[in-house]
Symmetry: none
Subunit: 210 residues, 4 copies
DNA sequence: CATGAATGAGTCTTCATTCAT
DNA sequence: GATGAATGAAGACTCATTCAT
């Protein structure tokens, strides 16, 4: 009851962990509760002790992982828009996502499955808000699009990295040798910079040609 | 009634049409063959007359829709890389995708479901090839990432537009009034330009004649 | 119309041929009309031009293959029972079946599928009649059983031969080297002799120990 | 009602029981899981709780029923071949099968359906081993055939008895009155003796001490 | 905390069969 | 003689979920 982080049961935590893993590897629909339970060495019924619903697990995932986004959003809300604030926003987002890359990937790749679920909404709303904060008020379509691209860059980095892994043997990986050492961390670093460049052209609210 | 004996059943084509529609609206896994069949006014078995497998329908979709990508790839292969060629490549891709926006969206949002399927491979391979053509040989991670983002911009434009549509009443659409008139066509136009800007900074690490 | 063996269409014959082949290889239920049609290079619908029903094909098989049994039965009906007649009956049966071994095997291994079908009945009745002719009137259970075994010996020879073939690599074939040369024909020859021995103890109607 | 909290659900056992019943009555392919479930008063899904697969049910059947064969095989392996041992082997097999007659019949009549299934293999391997033990080493084709026939006699007895039962009214049962009293037990008794006679002529090609 | 047993709805798929052409 | 298109019934199997214990 009382103490916030009492070790009450780490099962709940492990469920979230394993679920995120499987969900991002195989997709939400492709991952069955049996699979999750098996990998945890418990029964399906046990999952239902901790979560009311499959979707509820996703909600759990979001709650545990979305904290940095929320902080960034909170910070963003207290600033007024300026190019510098925009850059800082992107920077914070990219850094916050560094350790949560799989989460981003998971939500991007499972939109249809989560479209109507509370968890899906919860996440999409956060992304939409972030995008709005980045492009600021009264932005036109181009600028909104740039903001979107800037934020999605982190996710796309994942896409690129995956090519290397999943290009199982049939040649033509995106990387030849130059990339042998690109760890996920390095990739995210690079993604941050590219994201800044992409977002960088959003000049607002006073356009240059006024 | 029109033509007496129907021009030899366009059912196959209609299946592809309707399937793409449903697949992109609800996702691949979330769309059952019954649903497709019902909307077409035929039986599930009829689908199996025309396609060996649910996945085979997706393959059909790809085949009918990917022609412009293939042409662009073909063109790209015959050029040698240069900034101008890169821009032209992006331009052609964006234009080709203009009428096929749902296809892009469909594949992006259903990666997990299609990961191991022939159809999924077929499409991902095309995308990977396009990306490689855009960034050209010997590009580093940042440049590859830019290339990726440039091409994905078209898809992200879809994401933005959808917010407007699917934000069914519960607030927080990305667009308030300013976007009331942004037709899909206009959006793609804008996406093309943004894509060009994003791709634009790829400047090859000074070739021999620097 | 007229001439008995006019070459009207050898398709019918080929259907029977191929069907028997597939039916005995894989079983009746496990063989679909599509499979038969494919192997013949025609459409399923074509099969329905020649046969009213899947079961009707089996009937066709029986009709074309059961002639020798019918002749043997006919002959048997005109004799009165004696040990010599019994032996001759077995001999004729075994010889007649020599070229139709697959047929026997097919019916034996597909009894459940054909239990209630006309074709199944047609064949089982023939076998029952043969058995009755072999053991003669007023035989007791033991003698009937012997008669049955004598006739089934031909089929069991098939079982043995198959072991050799289908024991795909996991060792322990029924035959080591001594059997390398046992062709189907030789096997049937041997089966005939064993069948005679097995049937041979049926001494009837005047038992020796009376 | 009887025992308060049921002895922990004998459902698994009942599934096996009912399945064997239906499988032998109608054949493996002709029996649907719905049928089994219905007769048990449970849902199809319940079957899948206890067995991974339809085929797995057959495996369950084999495991529960094949114990006596395994014991006989075990015993046979520890003897060295002699006519007496051979007779004892056949005797034990026949006795062991007395209560499991339907099992034998089931496997014989469903070979095609089970040919490639684990359950089918499991059973066929046992039979092949038994046959080898009966005819001993260095037997020729005739002797192997005799061994086979000896063991199959038990099954053939079933065939005969069935004629009586399933010849439902449309004439030609193998038995008229003389068999009214032949219970299954008696039949197996007779089969045992016939099997012994049939196996009896296997006389090994004069070993060293001839 | 967790399990064992079971459910009901739904999935994809296959098949024998029909019929207009 | 044969095909192309379609059907209706059924099949095996999977899944999220529930509940008594």
């Amino acid at each position: 009851m009382g103490t916030p982080h009492s070790p009450r049961s780490d099962t709940r935590a492990r469920i979230i962990e394993v679920s995120l893993e499987l969900f991002s590897e195989q997709g939400y629909e492709q991952t069955s509760l049996r699979e999750i339970a098996d990998r945890l060495g418990v029964t399906k019924a046990a999952l239902y002790y901790h979560f009311k619903t499959k979707d509820d697990i996703v909600l759990g995932i979001v709650e545990r992982m979305a904290a940095p986004i929320d902080e960034t959003i909170e910070w963003g809300r207290q600033q007024s828009w300026s190019p510098g604030m925009r850059d800082e926003l992107i920077r914070r987002f990219a850094d916050g996502m560094a350790e949560r890359a799989p989460l981003l990937r998971f939500f991007h790749e499972n939109q249809p499955a989560l479209r109507d679920s509370p968890a899906g909404l919860a996440f999409r709303n956060r992304m939409v808000t972030m995008i709005q904060l980045v492009h600021g008020p009264e932005a036109d379509f181009r600028e909104r699009l740039r903001a979107t691209m800037a934020l999605f860059t982190v996710h796309s980095a994942m896409f690129l990295l995956k090519q290397d892994t999943s290009g199982c043997g049939h040649g033509d990986s995106v990387w030849g040798e130059p990339l042998q050492a690109a760890t996920l961390a390095e990739a995210i670093g690079a993604a941050r910079e590219v994201a800044l460049e992409i977002g960088g052209r959003i000049s607002h609210p006073a356009p240059a040609h006024s």
